[in-house]
Amino acid sequence: MPNIRLRLFGFGPKASGWDTDTLSLPQDTTVSEVWQSLRSSAEEGELLARIDERHVFFLVNGKLIHGAQLQEAVLRDGDTVTFMVMAIGGQSWHPMENHRARRSPLFGERG
């Protein structure tokens, strides 16, 4: 049973937050399978559940994989799998889904 390290970035309440876990997987588990399993266990409305896959970086031991590689990449004992919310380009991201930089004077001004 291969043990892998799972790292998630940007899926938590903070965009700059990390989530790390160790998983014990069945033999020949692929990256895609880990991702789907994670997604299905996430709560409805959570970013992990609703994010478009095109906004996610999939890394194995720091190396970027995409497309067919996701189904082909079989994980071995000691591998690190990282899923990161992409901040270098991507596909259509809703433009209004950004975050206010400044709170309005009514609720306390910063700057």
Partner: protein, 646 residues
């Protein structure tokens, strides 16, 4: 109602009727020239015309800090229109750090204001006897006394000038004390938040005793095919907004990519000794937002992306700061490269560079070089000005930034000349960890593991960085990037930065596109990081603006013409194939860890890449000099024939 300013008002004009304002600082003489339409079509405008003017007016061997150097400020041809993110300006001169061609790009709002005041290019030659500033008031030009401003930081100068001229809506380009002290990486600040950073343009202004350029303009710009232009511009703006490359830049800024880069072991740290750093997310744009440092996002003229940050410190550990930045290169060079991951510290360091007027990439790398030299015992005691220069020492870094800007102390003065000269003086092996080539510090891309970047950096006429040609697509991070690589090379599989194949084709396409992007005034983020602006719609917008049919091929050919002309300038200065090189560490020290562990771009690989590149360009393989027949094809024989290879 009597309008006493009617005589001074700049008139509305056609965007293709381009005018050059020449200023001779010794005599105070100013005169206006027109740009012939054929020249505009050949060189597109902006960077292109700048390059031509520089080639014609700066003879080989000219001292970059002498009066015969010429400083040319050229907004893009579409700057001032509603074309999205078209507000960029090219600043061109002979570069003090390298002694070679220097084009620097800058955003903000001054470029547009210059055009509204009636001028498309500002050509400044000679040197004033005492500090002066230029005031361009709706067409009228004045050279005014700046002695009371000399020595002041950029922020105070901006404020005082606006008070003095009685208008807080004027746009200003200015230098800080670093430019006055001719620090070889001093910059020219535009509209406070923007910087023509690299290679020492600030020093060129300082050497001319020119403190600032202020402009105000009310003259409008007309385009030939108004409705078509307007509609295409609006559509392109919306397409750009939908591109997530643009969106992530808006949300998290350029430093949003820090965690991704770090995780992929692509974040240069400790003077390129490492490729990652612990707690890198503290350097990220996400962190600035989550932790409440970010209090505003700012744009350049006509840009809806708004990648600029505006921050406010929280703990005020190193003093309270409200200022623009930090950017990705900032957190890399002043942060990871110096072993510092303290957000408060980086905000402060960035503010110092903003106020003194210095390029953060060079400042960071000059200090990280000093830190490595110190830790290796090559700089010590008196030579270190009694500073503790271990990696990670924030206080020393902040103090050193001040000393460099003011050329204070042995070390401050030494480092103010850049790593190439500093390493020559300090000696030993220190040249090996001077991350520079041609005299310019390299920007934060690991050129051991990204081969088209390696090639682009090696052949960049101004030195090794990504701001003449950014081949971002070779990483293949997104579908669009992979599609572009397929378009250029025929196969998506070449979207792999570790390959040596097809790199020259990738570089050449991006060179052409980037040159056209600059010439028209577009931000490279729209055409090489996002792709909503591309050669096709750039050509269409240009065509609608001028009222002509203009194809993508013509646009890219004009881009090629500009790149080749820039090459000729350097050839004339004596640059050859040997100068197209990379920092020693990139060629000799393997990547220490990660999926690309062990990689370098050694001499053999570089030679292979250069051969490909010169071949694709039609330049002589041995020297890198453009051949006569390619100059003929590009219509450059008359201008540049004297430096052609046979």
């Amino acid at each position: 109602m009597e309008n006493t300013s009617r005589e001074r008002r700049a008139m509305p004009r056609d965007i293709a009727d381009q005018r050059i304002l020449n200023v001779e600082l010794d005599s105070g003489r100013t005169w206006v020239e027109e740009v012939p339409r054929e020249e505009l079509l050949r060189f597109l405008g902006g960077r292109g015309i700048n390059a031509k003017l520089l080639y014609e007016r700066v003879a080989p061997g000219t001292d970059p800090l002498g009066p015969d150097n010429v400083l040319i400020i050229g907004p893009g041809t579409l700057t001032g229109t509603s074309a999205p993110s078209s507000g960029r300006t090219s600043v061109t001169c002979k570069g003090p750090a390298t002694g070679l061609y220097l084009k620097v790009s800058v955003g903000g709002h001054l470029g547009a204001e210059l055009k509204y005041s009636g001028y498309d290019y500002l050509v400044i030659q000679g040197a004033a006897k005492d500090p002066v500033y230029l005031w361009i008031d709706d067409g009228q030009v004045e050279i005014r006394d700046a002695r009371h401003l000399w020595g002041l930081g950029t922020r105070d100068t901006d404020r005082l000038l606006k008070e003095e001229l009685g208008d807080d809506e004027i746009e200003i380009g200015l230098i800080g004390p670093a430019g006055e002290n001719k620090v070889l990486f001093s910059c020219l600040i535009f509209s406070l938040y923007n910087s023509a950073s690299r290679g020492g343009v600030g020093a060129v202004m300082g050497s001319k005793n020119l403190k600032a350029i202020a402009a105000r303009g009310t003259g409008g710009l007309r385009v030939a095919e108004g409705d078509e232009f307007f509609d295409l511009a609006a559509r392109t703006r919306r397409e750009l907004a939908a591109d997530a490359g643009s969106n992530t830049l808006h949300t998290w800024g350029t430093s949003g990519s820090v965690p991704d880069l770090n995780e992929m072991r692509m974040l240069p740290s400790y003077n390129f000794n490492e490729v990652r750093i612990d707690d890198a997310e503290k350097l990220s744009g996400q962190y600035l937002l989550d932790e409440g440092y970010l209090i505003g996002r700012e744009s350049c003229f006509s840009c809806s992306t708004a990648c600029h940050r505006f921050v406010h410190t929280k703990e005020h550990t190193y003093g309270e700061v409200r200022d623009s930045g930090p950017e990705l290169e900032t957190v890399m060079s002043l942060g990871a490269e110096c072993g510092i991951i303290d957000t408060e510290a980086i905000i402060k360091a960035n503010q110092l560079c903003n106020d003194y007027g210095m390029d953060v990439i060079s400042v960071g790398h000059v200090i990280s070089w000093a830190m490595e030299s110190y830790e290796k015992g090559l700089i010590k005691g008196k030579q270190a000005d009694d500073l503790d220069l271990h990696f990670g020492n924030v206080e020393s870094q902040l103090e050193l930034i001040r000393r460099i800007a003011l050329r204070e102390g042995l070390l401050g003065d030494l480092l103010a000349n850049g790593t190439r000269q500093a390493a020559e003086e300090v000696g030993g092996d220190s040249w090996k960890w001077a991350i520079q080539a041609k005299g310019l510090e390299q920007s934060g891309v690991d050129t051991r593991m990204a081969k088209s970047y390696a090639l682009a950096f090696a052949v960049n006429p101004r030195g090794p960085d990504h701001l003449m040609t950014e081949t971002f697509a070779e990483f293949g991070f997104t579908e669009e990037a992979r599609a572009l690589i397929e378009e250029i090379t025929g196969d998506e599989k070449f979207a792999d930065p570790t390959l040596l194949d097809k790199r020259a084709d990738i570089v050449r396409w991006h060179e052409d596109c980037f040159a056209a992007t600059d010439a028209l005034g577009f931000c490279a983020f729209t055409s090489t990081a996002a792709y909503a602006v591309n050669p096709q719609n750039m050509a269409q917008l240009y065509g609608h603006a001028l009222g002509i049919q203009f194809s993508e091929e013509e646009l890219m050919k004009a881009g090629r013409r500009i790149v080749t002309l820039e090459r000729c300038f350097n050839v004339r200065e004596g640059a050859r194939r040997d100068d197209d090189t990379l920092p020693w560490r990139m060629m000799n020290t393997p990547v220490p860890e990660g999926p690309r562990k062990g990689m370098v771009t050694d001499k053999e690989m570089l030679d292979h890449l250069l051969d490909q590149y010169y071949d694709v360009h039609g330049w002589d393989l041995g020297t890198g000099i453009p051949k006569r027949d390619i100059l003929q094809i590009l219509g450059l024989l008359e201008l540049c024939g004297d430096c052609a290879a046979e």
